[in-house]
Structure formats: C-alpha cells, structure tokens
C-alpha cells in the first residue's frame, strides 16, 4: 500500500523550498521502489517547521521538519516512511505542545486535509454548518451569529450579527456578500493561511451569509501579493460548484449562490471596506463617506455584507457546533477564539489560535520562544501597521479587545510583530507616517498632508540640537496626531497616530 505523505502547497512552505521536495521525494521513492502518495495540504501554521513533511502511519501523522532537498536521501535511509528516527523527526505532530496547547475552531481543518477536496472537507465536519443553516430561517441564522458573540476579525471588531441583521432587514432585489481578503497589514497572514489551507470554510461561510440575508452573489477581494492563494481559492470554488454547493441549487435547496475572486492591485487602502467596494466596482480605491453604511448601500449601491476572511470562515463552525459552543471560548465581550499571528523577530513564528484572554507574553514566550536573534524583546507591535507598540512592561496585557484598548492599543487582526533591542523606535514612528503617506487614498487632508508633515516633524525631533527645540517639535507632533485621529475620514489616517504616539510614549529616549 502506498504511504501517504503530506507536503503543504502553501506560500510559507513554498517560500522555503517545499515545491522542490515533491520532485526529490518522488524520484528517491521510485529509485528505492517504494510506493508513495503525495497529498498537498495547507500549513498547520507552525512556520518555523516548514517545510513540514508528514507521514501517515499506524500511530498517527508523524512529522519531519524543516526538510530541505538535501535531507531527502537521509530521510529515506532512516526509513521515515515508517516513522523512523531522524534528527528532523518531530514525532506525532498533534502531540507537539505548540499544537496541543491551541484551541482550534476556525483553523480546525487547516493543514490536515487536501485543501481543495470537498470530500475531505466533508469528512471533518465541512458543510454540516450549511446543512443546518438551510433548515433555519434567515433571521435565525443571523441570530445564531449574533449569539455567538463573533466580532469582525478584520480589526474593527464590530459585532458580525448586527451587520448581518442590517443587511437581512434591508429591502432590495439584489444584495451582495463581499469578503475582504486584502490582508495588507504587516505581520498578518491568517487570511492567507485559511484560504490556502481550508478555502472551503470561506466558501461555506459566504454561502451561509448569502442564504441568511438573501444575497445570491459573493465576491472575494484578494490582494495581488497572494498569487498562490488565488489559484487555490479558485480551485476550491470550482470544486464546490462541481459538488453542487455553489450555483443555482445550493446543496439541493433550490437557493442560488455564486462566488467570484477579484484581485486587488497593490493598494493598502483597499482593505478599508468602502475603498474595497470602490475598487470592486473598477474605480480608484478612494474611501466613501459614511453614512450611508455599506450594509444599506454597498457594492453597486446595493445592501452588502463586507466581512473579513476569518469572520466568514468562522461562521461554519458556529452553525455546526452552535452559537453557545463558540461563545464558550474567550471572555467578557471578546468571545470565541482568535488566530494570532506571531512574526518579525521571533524564534518559533506562526499561527496560534487561542481563546481571547491569554497574555501577549504567553504568546511570545510560550509559543514563540523569544526572539530569533536571542536578544531581549524590546517592542511588540500588535494589530498591524496601525497598531500600538508595546514595551516589555505592557506584555502582560491580556489579548482581549477591551483590555488592549484600555492599554492604548488594539488587538486588530491579531498580528503580533516582535522587535529585539536593536530597534530604533523613532525610526519606526517615522516609518508609520511614511507608510501612511505612501498608501493614503488622498481624499482627506489630515491623512494626505498630515502624514507628510508627520515625517518632517519626526525628522526635526531627531535632528534637534537642544531639548527646547525638541520639546517644541514634540508638541507639534502631538497636535498633528490629535488632528489626524479626530479629523481623518477612515482608520488609515485616524489610526496612524497610534503607533507614532505609542512609540513616543514608551520609547521617548529614541527620539534624539
């Protein structure tokens, strides 16, 4: 019988040489006359182990990693097809503490299955959520999402059920479901990982959303930096269609739902929901005034749900296991789980799905194992380029929307970027302004002009020859940041002050 070998078809694994392993392993197996079957799964999220090769054995899936082409003959010598001992051997992958300590709901299947196979998806609970949704009224589906406590995982954390209810109650012959897959925040890769590792959960989530609010068309707005994701996502959509889960008769229900992937074109601002809608309409990605809300006048002026990938991909498990089950994770108003992404200067980086409430330090030390360089952690940016920089003293803040806001930061999309002691925080603050000026859509003045003035002011602070002059410029920077925060039209200009002012507050010594 052929031995099943899992090698991820996924950007991280591919970026470290996974695709080359296919050839090397196939050739070596042929040479040794051994029967193998290679399955392309997604990544389980342990980026530090990629390329992670897993072998299906009688004792579960045994892992080897990170594997390079040079290791292949050696692995065969060690009889790795039977789980043999080797310096890269990791044992039963599920038993590794890194995975065992996680609480995977949204990512339960990610990395386990052939990512685009409907049959494998269904074997692990896929489409159970849709089947139960099809037996419910639209209002009841919306209520289940509301009761689960799910909040927008893109960063804004708006209650998903309320957004859905607005679209459900809106009148109109045409409504849309739009998935925001323009994951532009540095330090975030959860959207990409689920789309590459379990794309059908997104397809199912969008289908449920469509059925709940009476929308028949969905668009996934995917950033162009993710070309492999595009291929995998389109494959999954085609497979779902062929299996009768998309089209004019979704799962035999007589209901219609179709999906299309649209590519962005390298504009960070298109992650803002109204810019995204403009871009989907083929226009410049400039933000729209709100109101009207996209829920009432969204894509092509029609009622539209705009949700992040993780939000939509979490809906199936809520419908499968019940709102109560999902709300049983987390605490306070931050219910359920969040797939945290640990990146930057980190030893064991990757994706960790946990219930809200663990501390930043637990995430960085227990899962991440400290910095990659071995130097102490100096600053941690949470929530993407618009999130605050936290010093060591704040690392015991629990990861919870409210607690983070209280500490002057935001959880956002759960991206965590770690810096060691070599970082200069004045430089990082300047970068935040520079990034804002490069990516501003230009519609409002505080963002368009403020970001440029911000760069100049930080330059003057750093170049100041005496404390008097420096303090004068600090006052200007603070005033500028307050203006940007309260007068910008969207989160781009409104939140750029967050990393800037947090750097000033916690690392003022760097600004001279």
């Amino acid at each position: 019988m052929a031995t099943r070998i899992y090698i991820p078809r996924e950007t991280t694994a591919s970026s470290l040489g996974a695709d080359l392993l296919i050839d090397a392993i196939t050739t070596e197996a042929k040479y040794r006359n051994l029967a193998i079957e290679i399955v392309r799964n997604g990544s389980r999220g342990a980026c530090f182990l990629e390329p992670l090769v897993e072998i299906e054995t009688a004792n579960g899936r045994v892992g080897y990693g990170p594997v390079q082409v040079e290791d292949v003959p050696d692995l065969f010598d060690a009889d790795f097809l039977k789980g043999g001992k080797h310096k890269l051997a990791l044992g039963n992958v599920e038993e590794l503490p890194w995975f065992k300590q996680q609480e995977r709901l949204t990512f339960a299947r990610c990395g386990l299955i052939d990512a685009t196979s409907v049959a494998e998806y269904k074997k692990l609970g896929g489409y159970v959520g849709l089947q139960s949704a099809l037996k419910m009224s639209g209002a009841d589906i919306v209520k289940a999402v509301l009761d689960s406590g799910l909040r927008g995982r893109g960063g804004a954390a708006f209650p998903t059920g309320i957004k859905w209810k607005t679209v459900h109650d809106a009148q109109g012959p045409q409504k849309y479901i739009v998935c925001n897959a323009d994951e532009g925040d540095s330090g975030t890769f959860a959207d990409r990982m689920i789309m590459e590792g379990d794309p059908l959960s997104l397809v199912e989530g969008m289908t449920i959303a469509g059925i709940a609010v009476g929308a028949t068309m969905g668009y996934i707005y995917l950033r162009s930096e993710y070309p492999l994701t595009q291929v995998i996502m389109n494959e999954a959509i085609a497979n779902a269609r062929a299996a009768g889960y998309l089209g004019n008769n979704v799962a035999g229900s007589g209901k219609k739902f179709e999906l299309e992937v649209r590519m962005g074109a390298g504009a960070y601002i298109c992650g803002e929901e109204t810019s995204l809608l403009e871009s989907l309409e083929g226009k410049r990605g400039q933000i729209r005034f709100k109101p009207p809300l996209p829920a009432l006048k969204g894509l092509f002026g029609k009622p539209t749900i705009v949700n992040n990938v993780i939000t939509l991909a979490t809906v199936p498990v809520i419908l499968e296991k019940g709102a109560k089950h999902y709300a049983g994770f987390g605490r306070g108003r931050s219910l359920g789980t969040l797939p945290f992404q640990i990146g930057g200067n980190i030893k064991r980086g990757g994706l960790v799905e946990k219930a809200f409430g663990l501390t930043l330090r637990q995430l960085i030390d227990d899962f991440g194992g400290g910095t990659a360089t071995g130097k102490p952690v100096r600053a941690v940016q949470v929530g993407g380029p618009l999130g605050a920089y936290f010093p060591d003293a704040l690392l015991d803040t629990p990861l919870d929307y409210e607690d983070f806001a209280k500490a002057g930061g935001m959880v956002g999309h759960g991206g965590v970027v770690v810096f060691d002691t070599s970082v200069n925080m004045a430089k990082m603050a300047r970068f935040s302004m520079e990034f804002c000026s490069a990516e501003s859509c230009g519609k409002c003045t505080p963002c368009r002009i403020g970001s440029v003035r911000g760069m100049e002011t930080i330059d003057r602070i750093v170049a100041a020859s005496n404390d008097g002059e420096r303090n004068k410029q600090h006052i200007i920077l603070k005033d500028l940041c307050e203006t940007m925060e309260s007068a910008s039209l969207c989160a781009m200009g409104g939140l750029t002050p967050m990393p800037v002012m947090s750097a000033v507050k916690h690392f003022k010594g760097d600004f001279q």
């Binding site: 950007t11 991280t12 994951e183 532009g184 890769f189 390298g266 504009a267 083929g282 990605g285 990146g343």
Partner: protein, 173 residues
C-alpha cells in the same frame, strides 16, 4: 537551493492584441481592474495606447481610466525587466534586517527602486508585506515568494534566474 520562478514572457504590444485580450471582461460589472491586470500579464505593462480602447469598452472617460491605472501600485506604464523583484519593506521584515538586505540588493543589481538592472533582467520594486511574516525578510520574484532571504541567497537566486533568462533568449534564436 531555492525554487526558481517561471520566467515571464511578454508579448510585444499591439492594440489588436490588447483589444482581443480584454474582451472577456466587457460585460462583467466593474471589471476595469481585471482588464488592466490582463494587459499587464500579457505585455508586462499597460501601454498608453490601450487607454482609449479601455475607455470605450467600459463606457468611461479616458481620464477615469487613467485615474484608475495610476492609483494602483501594481500597474506599470513601461516595459519592466525580465523578472520583477519585490523586496518587503514592512515592519516584520524590518525587524529581521530588511533594510540592510534592501541595500545589498540595490547594490548587487546596481539600481534603485522602480528601476531596472543594466542587463535588463531585474526590475526592483518595494512591497509592503507579502504575508510571510514569520519567515522574514521576504522577497518576491514575479509570483514566487522567498522567505528568510539573505544577501548571499539572493545573489545565488538571481544568478540562476539570469542564466535561465540567457538560455531562453538563446533558445528563442
């Protein structure tokens, strides 16, 4: 050894080819950006001469088409080098030394951002985040992302790509 991206093969721009390439988007709502992507994939850039044609196809003004094309970082107005190299400049990569890597790459290719190396092989661009932040610093060549790139590994990669470009050129003759 790192994987090697498939070399891009641009066609020479003609209005006839361009018109034919974008017809599939004619009746799709809001598909101007899809059409621009298609032109860039076919020719390597969006030629000025395609603008009036796109305006007619989507019932827009030429100014609107120009506005969209110039808004997005992805769309180029001139033919690029054989390969497009995009070096991540975002925070996670900065935390792992992308600044020094960027300097080394610029020096090795002998060009700055938005420029092409003298041999015509590599156009250098910046990018903010490739979504591989646990394996920084990252570089993308055409559609392939490379993680944990060093100045040395980049040198090896570009040498392989340059020799591929050379042999395909000779094969073409």
């Amino acid at each position: 050894m790192m994987p090697v991206a498939t070399p891009a093969r641009w066609q020479d721009f003609t209005l006839e080819l361009a018109t034919a390439a974008v017809q599939e988007f004619k009746d799709q709502p809001g598909a101007l950006i899809n059409a621009l992507h298609k032109l860039q994939e076919t020719f390597g850039y969006v030629d000025e001469a395609a603008m009036p044609m796109l305006a007619r196809l989507f019932n827009l003004s030429r100014a609107e088409v120009h506005g969209v094309t110039s808004f997005y970082h992805d769309f180029r107005r001139e033919k690029p080098g054989r390969y497009t190299v995009r070096v991540c400049q975002a925070e996670a990569c900065q935390a792992m030394g992308s600044e020094a890597l960027t300097d080394a790459i610029k020096q090795q290719l002998g060009c700055d951002f938005h420029e092409t190396s003298k041999d015509g092989n590599f156009t250098l661009e910046k990018v903010y985040c490739l979504g591989n932040c646990a394996c920084s610093p990252n570089v993308m060549v055409d559609k392939q992302t490379y993680g944990r790139v060093t100045a040395e590994s980049f040198k090896k990669l570009t040498a392989t790509l340059a020799s591929k470009a050379q042999s395909s050129k000779e094969g073409g003759k």
